[in-house]
């Protein structure tokens, strides 16, 4: 059976249908809102693909984990920009928090499954919606109201919403283009660049965005990415104009 090629993984999500690498590209170009993307759906597609094989494809798993982790982090940034404390978490704490959220979501998914089955079972229960044909007309009477309540409600609607700072997000979420330029200028000076080295000292969000920039460069065939083993250093080199090779993410 041929190896699982992660970037060719076919996805069928609510917000997107097509191969995984197209999805990444659209997200990077901000043509697709990450908030609309069901990452769990991507994971399920991948797991289904893996299950078709008899052997566990470790290489594909590693590659997939890295990609999905980057996607999740970006998405988490977008959805919870007010959770500034999340960025300060130690890796163990972050893993704990992630496990807690995954668990919560999994329970809700099961609850949704329970509701689905219940609805199917109750499909033959018919009851009347609305008033009976010959029922008396109910009269809804409203007691005296104070006009002050109306002014109060308008003032509440005019009050600034709590804790929203868009500046925070702009600060924490650097544009991908910034890293595209950074890698291009590095590679103009050096034949080969070590990813870890290039992103040393950056925050985790910045590293994630840098990684997505890397994938975008790979897509446009500007660079070649090599990794000897999972978690081994990622080496980036500029692609020779004549000899553009396909993307190789090899394991030892």
């Amino acid at each position: 059976m041929p190896p699982v090629v992660v970037r060719e993984l076919e996805l069928d999500l609510d917000a997107f249908e097509g191969p995984f690498d197209l999805l990444l590209t659209l997200v990077l170009r901000e043509e697709l809102d990450l908030a609309e993307v069901d990452v769990a759906g991507i994971v399920v597609s991948f797991v289904e693909r893996l299950a078709e094989r008899e052997q566990l494809d470790l290489e594909a798993c590693g590659e997939f984990l890295v990609l999905v982790a980057a996607l999740l982090e970006l998405k988490a940034r977008g959805l919870f920009e007010e959770d500034a404390d999340l960025a300060e978490l130690e890796p163990e704490e972050a893993a704990e928090e992630l496990a807690r959220r995954l668990e919560e979501y999994r329970r809700m998914k099961e609850a949704a499954g329970w509701l689905f089955e219940r609805l199917a079972r109750e499909g033959d229960r018919f009851f009347r919606l609305g008033p009976a044909p010959l029922a008396p007309q109910p009269e809804r009477r409203l007691g005296p109201q104070s006009p002050e309540r109306l002014a109060e409600v308008i003032r509440l609607l005019a009050a600034e919403p709590p804790d929203v700072s868009l500046g925070h997000m702009a600060l924490q979420f650097p544009p991908v283009a910034q890293f595209l330029e950074r890698f291009r200028s590095l590679l103009a000076r050096r034949r080969r660049v070590d990813f870890e080295e290039a992103v040393a000292g950056l925050s985790r969000v910045e590293v994630a965005v840098a990684f997505l920039a890397l994938l975008d460069l790979r897509r446009s065939n500007e660079i070649t990415i090599e990794q000897a083993a999972p978690f081994a250093p990622i080496r980036i080199s500029a692609t020779d104009v004549e000899g553009r090779e396909p993307w190789i993410a090899r394991s030892a």
């Binding site: 009976a132 044909p133 010959l134 009269e139 005296p144």
Partner: protein, 200 residues
């Protein structure tokens, strides 16, 4: 003379009668013999026979549910002996206050003048359809023409009943909101701007 046992045997007409009971108890309108025959996939004559059985079963003095033939067909109603109890059920206690959704919608219409459902939704940040329908049904707001000289969305304004309930001679007696803006337009712009910054 009672023959309720006939309804619970398994002879076909009794089964048809049960189907008709089911249809009538969930109907919001009287059902004609044709509708009943079509829904139960049975013949008109047999439906009429079944209705005869049911009229006998559901009649005054024998059941709290009474089957009645009215203009549009057949329908269940409450027995007269239960009229007093039914009156108590439908006599709603005077409601002391409106829901938050209704209050916000009403305040927007009162302060900003005739406005459309999209206007209200933009300021509240959520769809206003059910709140508007509720206030129209209560007679607190009413349609007031359409936007753009007739072609656009329906506008709503407050009614004289609204002024009575809120103890106002006219809308000009509403508490002033000078701190939010000098005119309805200024207040509208301010509310719309805040709404955009509110979490969805």
């Amino acid at each position: 003379m009672d023959r309720p046992l006939r309804l619970i045997t398994t002879s076909p007409v009794d089964q048809l009668a049960r189907t008709i009971e089911a249809l009538l108890v969930i109907a919001s309108q009287p059902l004609s013999v044709e509708e009943l025959a079509e829904a139960s996939a049975d013949e008109r004559e047999r439906v009429e026979t079944a209705l005869g059985l049911l009229s006998e079963r559901y009649r005054e003095g024998r059941s709290g549910i009474v089957l009645e033939q009215v203009a549009g067909g057949w329908a269940f109603r409450a027995a007269r002996e239960a009229a007093e109890a039914c009156g108590r059920l439908f006599e709603r206690p005077v409601q002391r206050s409106l829901s938050q959704a209704s209050l916000e919608t009403l305040a927007i219409v009162a302060y900003l003048g005739p406005c459309t459902r999209p206007d209200i939704a933009r300021i509240r940040g959520v769809a206003a359809d059910s709140a508007v329908a509720n206030l129209v049904e209560r007679g607190l707001i009413a349609e007031a023409g359409r936007e753009d000289g007739g072609g656009g969305a329906v506008r709503y304004r407050t009614t004289p009943l609204f002024e009575r309930v809120f103890g106002l001679e006219s809308l000009s007696e509403l508490p002033r909101l000078d701190d939010l803006g000098g005119s309805a337009d200024e207040i509208r712009d301010r509310l719309a701007a805040v709404a955009e910054r509110r979490p969805a």
